[in-house]
Amino acid sequence: MELAVADLTCARGGVPLLEGVSFTLPAGAALVLRGPNGCGKTTLLRTLAGLQPALAGTVSCPPEAIAYAGHADGLKAVLTVAENLAFWAAIHGQSGVEAAMKAMNLTELSGRQAQHLSAGQKRRLGLARLMVTGRAFWLLDEPTVSLDTASVALFAAVVRAHLARGGAALMASHIDLGLDEARVLELAAFRAAPRLPQGFDEAFA
Protein backbone atom coordinates (compact mmCIF):
# COMPACT_ATOMS: atom_id res chain seq x y z
CA MET A 1 0.00 0.00 0.00
CA GLU A 2 1.26 3.44 -0.80
CA LEU A 3 0.04 7.00 -0.55
CA ALA A 4 0.00 8.40 -4.07
CA VAL A 5 -0.99 12.02 -4.54
CA ALA A 6 -1.56 13.30 -8.05
CA ASP A 7 -2.12 16.89 -9.18
CA LEU A 8 -3.61 17.91 -5.88
CA THR A 9 -4.85 21.47 -5.49
CA CYS A 10 -5.65 22.55 -1.97
CA ALA A 11 -7.12 25.77 -0.71
CA ARG A 12 -7.21 27.69 2.52
CA GLY A 13 -10.26 29.92 2.99
CA GLY A 14 -11.29 29.33 -0.61
CA VAL A 15 -8.00 30.63 -2.05
CA PRO A 16 -5.81 27.99 -3.74
CA LEU A 17 -2.48 27.73 -1.94
CA LEU A 18 -0.88 24.72 -3.60
CA GLU A 19 -1.51 23.20 -7.00
CA GLY A 20 -0.15 20.28 -8.93
CA VAL A 21 1.18 18.58 -5.82
CA SER A 22 2.26 15.09 -6.80
CA PHE A 23 4.30 12.57 -4.86
CA THR A 24 4.19 8.97 -3.78
CA LEU A 25 4.94 7.72 -0.33
CA PRO A 26 5.52 3.96 -0.34
CA ALA A 27 5.21 1.84 2.79
CA GLY A 28 8.34 2.03 4.88
CA ALA A 29 9.31 5.52 3.72
CA ALA A 30 9.28 8.93 5.30
CA LEU A 31 8.82 12.24 3.56
CA VAL A 32 9.52 15.65 5.07
CA LEU A 33 7.59 18.65 3.79
CA ARG A 34 9.50 21.88 3.79
CA GLY A 35 8.58 25.39 2.86
CA PRO A 36 8.30 28.86 4.32
CA ASN A 37 5.54 29.77 6.78
CA GLY A 38 2.16 30.02 5.11
CA CYS A 39 3.12 27.99 2.07
CA GLY A 40 0.41 25.42 2.78
CA LYS A 41 2.01 22.59 4.73
CA THR A 42 -0.81 22.35 7.24
CA THR A 43 -3.42 22.78 4.49
CA LEU A 44 -1.91 19.91 2.53
CA LEU A 45 -1.85 17.65 5.58
CA ARG A 46 -5.44 18.50 6.52
CA THR A 47 -6.57 17.84 2.96
CA LEU A 48 -4.87 14.44 2.93
CA ALA A 49 -6.41 13.62 6.31
CA GLY A 50 -9.86 14.24 4.86
CA LEU A 51 -10.61 17.25 7.05
CA GLN A 52 -11.12 19.49 4.04
CA PRO A 53 -11.88 18.73 0.41
CA ALA A 54 -9.30 19.13 -2.33
CA LEU A 55 -10.14 21.49 -5.17
CA ALA A 56 -8.66 19.09 -7.71
CA GLY A 57 -6.52 16.00 -7.91
CA THR A 58 -6.57 12.56 -6.37
CA VAL A 59 -5.30 10.90 -3.24
CA SER A 60 -4.91 7.16 -3.64
CA CYS A 61 -5.37 6.20 -0.04
CA PRO A 62 -8.61 6.60 1.94
CA PRO A 63 -8.62 8.82 5.06
CA GLU A 64 -9.29 5.64 7.10
CA ALA A 65 -5.64 4.60 6.66
CA ILE A 66 -4.29 7.95 7.80
CA ALA A 67 -3.58 9.16 11.32
CA TYR A 68 -3.34 12.92 11.60
CA ALA A 69 -1.54 14.85 14.33
CA GLY A 70 -1.96 18.59 14.09
CA HIS A 71 -0.71 21.52 16.10
CA ALA A 72 -3.10 20.69 18.94
CA ASP A 73 -2.60 17.35 20.65
CA GLY A 74 -6.25 16.58 21.38
CA LEU A 75 -5.61 15.94 25.06
CA LYS A 76 -8.12 16.35 27.83
CA ALA A 77 -6.64 18.34 30.70
CA VAL A 78 -8.44 16.51 33.51
CA LEU A 79 -7.75 13.00 32.21
CA THR A 80 -4.54 11.26 33.12
CA VAL A 81 -1.90 10.31 30.58
CA ALA A 82 -3.05 6.68 30.60
CA GLU A 83 -6.74 7.66 30.32
CA ASN A 84 -6.08 9.96 27.38
CA LEU A 85 -4.25 7.21 25.52
CA ALA A 86 -6.75 4.54 26.49
CA PHE A 87 -9.56 6.67 25.07
CA TRP A 88 -7.93 7.05 21.67
CA ALA A 89 -6.99 3.37 21.66
CA ALA A 90 -10.63 2.43 22.35
CA ILE A 91 -11.90 4.78 19.63
CA HIS A 92 -9.61 3.09 17.12
CA GLY A 93 -10.31 -0.37 18.49
CA GLN A 94 -6.66 -0.92 19.39
CA SER A 95 -4.63 -1.83 22.45
CA GLY A 96 -1.00 -1.14 23.20
CA VAL A 97 -1.34 1.80 25.56
CA GLU A 98 1.50 0.51 27.74
CA ALA A 99 3.84 0.07 24.80
CA ALA A 100 3.07 3.54 23.50
CA MET A 101 3.76 5.10 26.90
CA LYS A 102 7.00 3.17 27.14
CA ALA A 103 8.14 4.22 23.68
CA MET A 104 7.60 7.90 24.39
CA ASN A 105 9.00 7.68 27.93
CA LEU A 106 5.69 8.45 29.61
CA THR A 107 5.32 5.42 31.87
CA GLU A 108 6.35 7.33 34.99
CA LEU A 109 3.78 10.01 34.20
CA SER A 110 0.93 7.61 33.45
CA GLY A 111 -1.14 8.61 36.49
CA ARG A 112 -0.66 12.33 36.09
CA GLN A 113 -3.38 14.57 34.68
CA ALA A 114 -2.55 16.11 31.32
CA GLN A 115 -3.01 19.62 32.71
CA HIS A 116 0.02 19.09 34.97
CA LEU A 117 2.34 18.08 32.13
CA SER A 118 4.90 20.39 30.60
CA ALA A 119 4.55 21.44 26.97
CA GLY A 120 7.12 18.88 25.85
CA GLN A 121 5.49 16.09 27.84
CA LYS A 122 2.12 16.96 26.32
CA ARG A 123 3.67 16.80 22.87
CA ARG A 124 5.14 13.38 23.66
CA LEU A 125 1.70 12.21 24.78
CA GLY A 126 0.20 13.60 21.57
CA LEU A 127 2.75 11.64 19.54
CA ALA A 128 2.20 8.50 21.61
CA ARG A 129 -1.45 8.75 20.53
CA LEU A 130 -0.39 7.96 16.96
CA MET A 131 0.91 4.60 18.10
CA VAL A 132 -2.51 3.52 19.39
CA THR A 133 -4.37 4.44 16.20
CA GLY A 134 -3.10 1.36 14.39
CA ARG A 135 -3.01 3.30 11.11
CA ALA A 136 -0.30 2.97 8.52
CA PHE A 137 0.17 6.55 7.33
CA TRP A 138 1.12 9.15 9.88
CA LEU A 139 0.64 12.79 8.94
CA LEU A 140 2.57 14.95 11.37
CA ASP A 141 2.36 18.71 11.52
CA GLU A 142 5.44 20.16 13.24
CA PRO A 143 5.81 17.07 15.45
CA THR A 144 8.90 18.29 17.28
CA VAL A 145 7.59 21.62 18.57
CA SER A 146 8.65 22.06 22.23
CA LEU A 147 10.53 18.73 22.32
CA ASP A 148 14.09 18.66 23.72
CA THR A 149 16.88 16.93 21.80
CA ALA A 150 16.50 13.69 23.77
CA SER A 151 12.78 13.59 22.99
CA VAL A 152 13.39 14.34 19.32
CA ALA A 153 15.69 11.31 19.23
CA LEU A 154 13.02 9.27 21.01
CA PHE A 155 10.49 10.43 18.44
CA ALA A 156 12.82 9.60 15.54
CA ALA A 157 13.23 6.09 16.98
CA VAL A 158 9.45 5.68 17.19
CA VAL A 159 9.02 6.83 13.59
CA ARG A 160 11.79 4.49 12.46
CA ALA A 161 10.13 1.56 14.23
CA HIS A 162 6.85 2.50 12.56
CA LEU A 163 8.54 2.55 9.14
CA ALA A 164 10.13 -0.82 9.85
CA ARG A 165 6.66 -2.24 10.53
CA GLY A 166 5.55 -1.18 7.07
CA GLY A 167 4.11 2.19 8.02
CA ALA A 168 4.89 5.52 6.44
CA ALA A 169 5.20 9.07 7.71
CA LEU A 170 4.67 12.45 6.12
CA MET A 171 6.01 15.26 8.26
CA ALA A 172 5.96 19.02 8.01
CA SER A 173 8.98 20.25 9.87
CA HIS A 174 11.57 23.00 9.90
CA ILE A 175 14.20 21.25 11.95
CA ASP A 176 16.40 18.26 11.28
CA LEU A 177 14.68 15.20 12.73
CA GLY A 178 17.70 12.92 12.56
CA LEU A 179 15.88 10.73 10.05
CA ASP A 180 18.55 10.56 7.36
CA GLU A 181 16.56 8.18 5.19
CA ALA A 182 13.66 10.64 4.85
CA ARG A 183 13.18 12.32 1.51
CA VAL A 184 12.47 16.04 1.40
CA LEU A 185 9.70 17.65 -0.62
CA GLU A 186 9.96 21.40 -1.16
CA LEU A 187 6.43 22.75 -1.23
CA ALA A 188 7.47 26.16 -2.54
CA ALA A 189 7.64 24.56 -6.01
CA PHE A 190 3.89 23.91 -5.94
CA ARG A 191 2.77 27.36 -4.87
CA ALA A 192 -0.45 28.27 -6.66
CA ALA A 193 -0.47 31.30 -8.91
CA PRO A 194 -2.31 34.13 -7.14
CA ARG A 195 -5.71 34.16 -8.78
CA LEU A 196 -9.29 34.19 -7.66
CA PRO A 197 -11.85 31.93 -9.24
CA GLN A 198 -14.67 33.44 -11.28
CA GLY A 199 -17.35 34.95 -9.10
CA PHE A 200 -15.33 34.43 -5.95
CA ASP A 201 -17.00 35.61 -2.79
CA GLU A 202 -15.03 35.09 0.39
CA ALA A 203 -18.20 34.95 2.47
CA PHE A 204 -19.25 31.73 0.73
CA ALA A 205 -15.81 30.17 0.39
Binding site: A49, G50, L51, Q52, P53, P63, E64, I66, A67, Y68, G70, H71, A72, D73, G74, L75, K76, A77, V78, L79, E83, F87, W88, A90, I91, H92, G93, R129
Partner: protein
Protein backbone atom coordinates in the same frame (compact mmCIF):
# COMPACT_ATOMS: atom_id res chain seq x y z
CA UNK B 1 -18.82 5.00 20.90
CA UNK B 2 -19.05 3.68 24.46
CA UNK B 3 -15.51 4.98 25.02
CA UNK B 4 -16.59 8.45 23.89
CA UNK B 5 -19.62 8.37 26.17
CA UNK B 6 -17.61 7.31 29.21
CA UNK B 7 -14.97 9.91 28.42
CA UNK B 8 -17.54 12.70 28.18
CA UNK B 9 -19.24 11.61 31.40
CA UNK B 10 -15.89 11.40 33.17
CA UNK B 11 -14.94 14.86 31.92
CA UNK B 12 -18.26 16.25 33.13
CA UNK B 13 -17.86 14.85 36.62
CA UNK B 14 -14.22 15.85 37.10
CA UNK B 15 -13.29 19.27 38.43
CA UNK B 16 -14.32 22.08 36.10
CA UNK B 17 -16.51 19.78 34.02
CA UNK B 18 -19.63 21.87 34.52
CA UNK B 19 -21.82 19.03 35.76
CA UNK B 20 -23.57 21.12 38.42
CA UNK B 21 -23.98 24.21 36.25
CA UNK B 22 -27.47 23.57 34.89
CA UNK B 23 -28.66 21.95 38.08
CA UNK B 24 -27.47 24.88 40.19
CA UNK B 25 -29.17 27.35 37.88
CA UNK B 26 -32.43 25.38 38.04
CA UNK B 27 -32.31 25.31 41.85
CA UNK B 28 -31.58 29.03 42.11
CA UNK B 29 -34.43 29.88 39.74
CA UNK B 30 -36.96 27.75 41.60
CA UNK B 31 -35.90 29.20 44.96
CA UNK B 32 -35.90 32.81 43.77
CA UNK B 33 -39.25 32.78 41.96
CA UNK B 34 -41.36 32.39 45.15
CA UNK B 35 -39.33 35.19 46.73
CA UNK B 36 -39.91 37.46 43.78
CA UNK B 37 -43.54 36.61 43.03
CA UNK B 38 -44.66 36.44 46.65
CA UNK B 39 -45.75 33.53 48.83
CA UNK B 40 -49.39 33.38 47.62
CA UNK B 41 -49.82 29.60 47.08
CA UNK B 42 -52.55 29.94 44.42
CA UNK B 43 -50.44 32.25 42.22
CA UNK B 44 -47.40 30.03 42.60
CA UNK B 45 -49.36 26.91 41.73
CA UNK B 46 -50.66 28.67 38.64
CA UNK B 47 -47.25 29.61 37.28
CA UNK B 48 -45.35 26.54 38.54
CA UNK B 49 -45.55 24.43 35.33
CA UNK B 50 -44.32 27.28 33.16
CA UNK B 51 -41.56 28.30 35.55
CA UNK B 52 -40.28 24.74 35.90
CA UNK B 53 -40.20 24.20 32.15
CA UNK B 54 -38.61 27.58 31.38
CA UNK B 55 -36.07 26.91 34.13
CA UNK B 56 -35.19 23.49 32.74
CA UNK B 57 -34.85 24.94 29.24
CA UNK B 58 -32.56 27.79 30.31
CA UNK B 59 -30.51 25.41 32.48
CA UNK B 60 -29.97 23.24 29.39
CA UNK B 61 -29.00 26.27 27.33
CA UNK B 62 -26.26 27.23 29.81
CA UNK B 63 -24.02 24.28 29.09
CA UNK B 64 -24.66 23.88 25.36
CA UNK B 65 -21.58 25.63 24.05
CA UNK B 66 -19.40 23.16 25.95
CA UNK B 67 -20.62 20.24 23.82
CA UNK B 68 -18.20 20.87 20.95
CA UNK B 69 -16.26 24.04 21.80
CA UNK B 70 -13.93 22.35 24.29
CA UNK B 71 -13.11 19.53 21.88
CA UNK B 72 -12.58 22.06 19.11
CA UNK B 73 -10.13 24.10 21.17
CA UNK B 74 -7.87 21.22 22.19
CA UNK B 75 -7.91 19.61 18.76
CA UNK B 76 -9.88 16.51 19.78
CA UNK B 77 -12.63 17.34 17.31
CA UNK B 78 -10.22 17.14 14.36
CA UNK B 79 -9.06 13.78 15.63
CA UNK B 80 -12.60 12.53 16.24
CA UNK B 81 -13.53 13.59 12.70
CA UNK B 82 -10.70 11.44 11.35
CA UNK B 83 -11.42 8.55 13.75
CA UNK B 84 -13.12 5.38 12.53
CA UNK B 85 -16.46 6.23 14.18
CA UNK B 86 -18.91 8.27 12.07
CA UNK B 87 -19.24 11.94 12.96
CA UNK B 88 -23.02 11.50 13.15
CA UNK B 89 -22.40 8.97 15.91
CA UNK B 90 -20.06 11.39 17.67
CA UNK B 91 -22.81 14.03 17.65
CA UNK B 92 -25.43 11.59 18.92
CA UNK B 93 -23.17 10.31 21.70
CA UNK B 94 -22.19 13.81 22.77
CA UNK B 95 -25.85 14.88 22.84
CA UNK B 96 -26.61 11.80 24.94
CA UNK B 97 -23.77 12.64 27.32
CA UNK B 98 -25.09 16.19 27.59
CA UNK B 99 -28.55 14.88 28.41
CA UNK B 100 -27.21 12.45 31.02
CA UNK B 101 -25.25 15.19 32.77
CA UNK B 102 -27.75 18.05 32.35
CA UNK B 103 -31.23 16.88 31.35
CA UNK B 104 -31.57 13.80 33.52
CA UNK B 105 -30.55 15.54 36.80
CA UNK B 106 -33.11 18.25 36.01
CA UNK B 107 -35.81 15.61 35.55
CA UNK B 108 -34.91 14.01 38.88
CA UNK B 109 -34.82 17.22 40.88
CA UNK B 110 -37.89 18.84 39.29
CA UNK B 111 -40.50 17.22 41.62
CA UNK B 112 -38.63 18.61 44.64
CA UNK B 113 -38.69 22.07 43.17
CA UNK B 114 -42.37 21.55 42.35
CA UNK B 115 -43.00 21.50 46.11
CA UNK B 116 -41.31 24.89 46.45
CA UNK B 117 -43.60 26.26 43.76
CA UNK B 118 -46.76 24.63 45.14
CA UNK B 119 -47.36 22.53 42.04
CA UNK B 120 -50.78 20.84 42.02
CA UNK B 121 -50.53 17.30 43.50
CA UNK B 122 -51.86 15.63 40.37
CA UNK B 123 -49.21 17.19 38.15
CA UNK B 124 -45.99 15.68 39.56
CA UNK B 125 -46.13 12.56 37.45
CA UNK B 126 -46.83 14.57 34.33
CA UNK B 127 -44.02 16.99 35.17
CA UNK B 128 -41.48 14.17 35.38
CA UNK B 129 -42.86 12.43 32.30
CA UNK B 130 -42.95 15.60 30.19
CA UNK B 131 -39.40 16.54 31.19
CA UNK B 132 -38.23 12.99 30.55
CA UNK B 133 -39.72 13.11 27.06
CA UNK B 134 -38.80 16.71 26.30
CA UNK B 135 -35.28 17.28 27.62
CA UNK B 136 -33.60 14.87 25.16
CA UNK B 137 -34.91 17.12 22.36
CA UNK B 138 -33.32 20.10 24.13
CA UNK B 139 -29.95 18.33 24.16
CA UNK B 140 -30.11 17.20 20.53
CA UNK B 141 -31.29 20.57 19.20
CA UNK B 142 -28.63 22.19 21.36
CA UNK B 143 -25.94 19.91 19.94
CA UNK B 144 -27.02 20.98 16.45
CA UNK B 145 -26.75 24.65 17.45
CA UNK B 146 -23.37 24.02 19.06
CA UNK B 147 -22.15 22.32 15.87
CA UNK B 148 -23.22 25.33 13.81
CA UNK B 149 -21.34 27.79 16.00
CA UNK B 150 -18.34 25.66 16.95
CA UNK B 151 -15.57 27.64 15.28
CA UNK B 152 -16.78 31.04 16.43
CA UNK B 153 -15.14 32.98 19.20
CA UNK B 154 -17.70 33.91 21.85
CA UNK B 155 -20.35 32.05 19.89
CA UNK B 156 -22.55 31.70 22.98
CA UNK B 157 -24.88 34.56 22.13
CA UNK B 158 -25.36 33.40 18.56
CA UNK B 159 -25.92 29.87 19.82
CA UNK B 160 -28.69 31.04 22.16
CA UNK B 161 -30.33 33.08 19.40
CA UNK B 162 -30.21 30.14 17.00
CA UNK B 163 -31.43 27.55 19.45
CA UNK B 164 -34.14 29.38 21.39
CA UNK B 165 -36.67 29.51 18.50
CA UNK B 166 -36.12 25.78 17.96
CA UNK B 167 -36.82 25.18 21.65
CA UNK B 168 -40.21 26.89 21.57
CA UNK B 169 -42.33 23.88 20.44
CA UNK B 170 -40.78 21.67 23.12
CA UNK B 171 -41.44 24.34 25.75
CA UNK B 172 -45.03 24.94 24.65
CA UNK B 173 -46.05 21.28 24.58
CA UNK B 174 -44.01 20.35 27.65
CA UNK B 175 -45.55 23.06 29.81
CA UNK B 176 -48.98 22.28 28.32
CA UNK B 177 -48.70 18.67 29.53
CA UNK B 178 -48.04 19.83 33.09
CA UNK B 179 -50.72 22.56 33.01
CA UNK B 180 -53.37 20.15 31.74
CA UNK B 181 -52.18 17.49 34.16
CA UNK B 182 -52.53 19.94 37.05
CA UNK B 183 -56.05 20.80 35.93
CA UNK B 184 -56.96 17.13 35.59
CA UNK B 185 -57.51 17.31 31.82
CA UNK B 186 -56.40 14.86 29.16
CA UNK B 187 -52.74 15.21 28.19
CA UNK B 188 -52.46 12.77 25.31
CA UNK B 189 -52.20 15.30 22.48
CA UNK B 190 -49.38 17.51 23.86
CA UNK B 191 -47.59 14.42 25.17
CA UNK B 192 -47.62 12.79 21.74
CA UNK B 193 -46.48 16.00 20.05
CA UNK B 194 -43.67 16.33 22.59
CA UNK B 195 -42.56 12.75 21.99
CA UNK B 196 -42.78 13.38 18.24
CA UNK B 197 -40.48 16.41 18.46
CA UNK B 198 -37.95 14.45 20.48
CA UNK B 199 -38.03 11.42 18.18
CA UNK B 200 -37.83 13.59 15.07
CA UNK B 201 -34.95 15.72 16.27
CA UNK B 202 -33.01 12.74 17.61
CA UNK B 203 -33.40 11.00 14.25
CA UNK B 204 -32.54 13.90 11.94
CA UNK B 205 -30.41 16.48 13.72
CA UNK B 206 -27.27 14.35 14.27
CA UNK B 207 -26.89 14.23 10.48
CA UNK B 208 -27.37 17.97 10.11
CA UNK B 209 -24.98 18.63 12.99
CA UNK B 210 -22.31 16.34 11.54
CA UNK B 211 -22.58 18.20 8.23
CA UNK B 212 -22.21 21.54 10.02
CA UNK B 213 -19.18 20.22 11.93
CA UNK B 214 -17.48 19.08 8.73
CA UNK B 215 -17.94 22.53 7.23
CA UNK B 216 -16.68 24.24 10.38
CA UNK B 217 -13.58 22.05 10.59
CA UNK B 218 -12.34 23.02 7.13
Amino acid sequence: MIALLTRDLRLAFRAGGGFGLGLGFFLILAVLVPLGVGPEPRTLGLIAPGILWVGALLACLLSLDRIFALDFEDGSLDLLATAPIPLEGVVAVKALAHWLTTGLPLVLVAPLLGVLLNLAPGAYGWLVLSLLLGTPALSVIGAFGAALTVGLKRGGLLLSLLVLPLYIPTLVYGAEVVIRGAAGLGVTTPLLLLAGITAGSAALLPFAAALALRVNLR
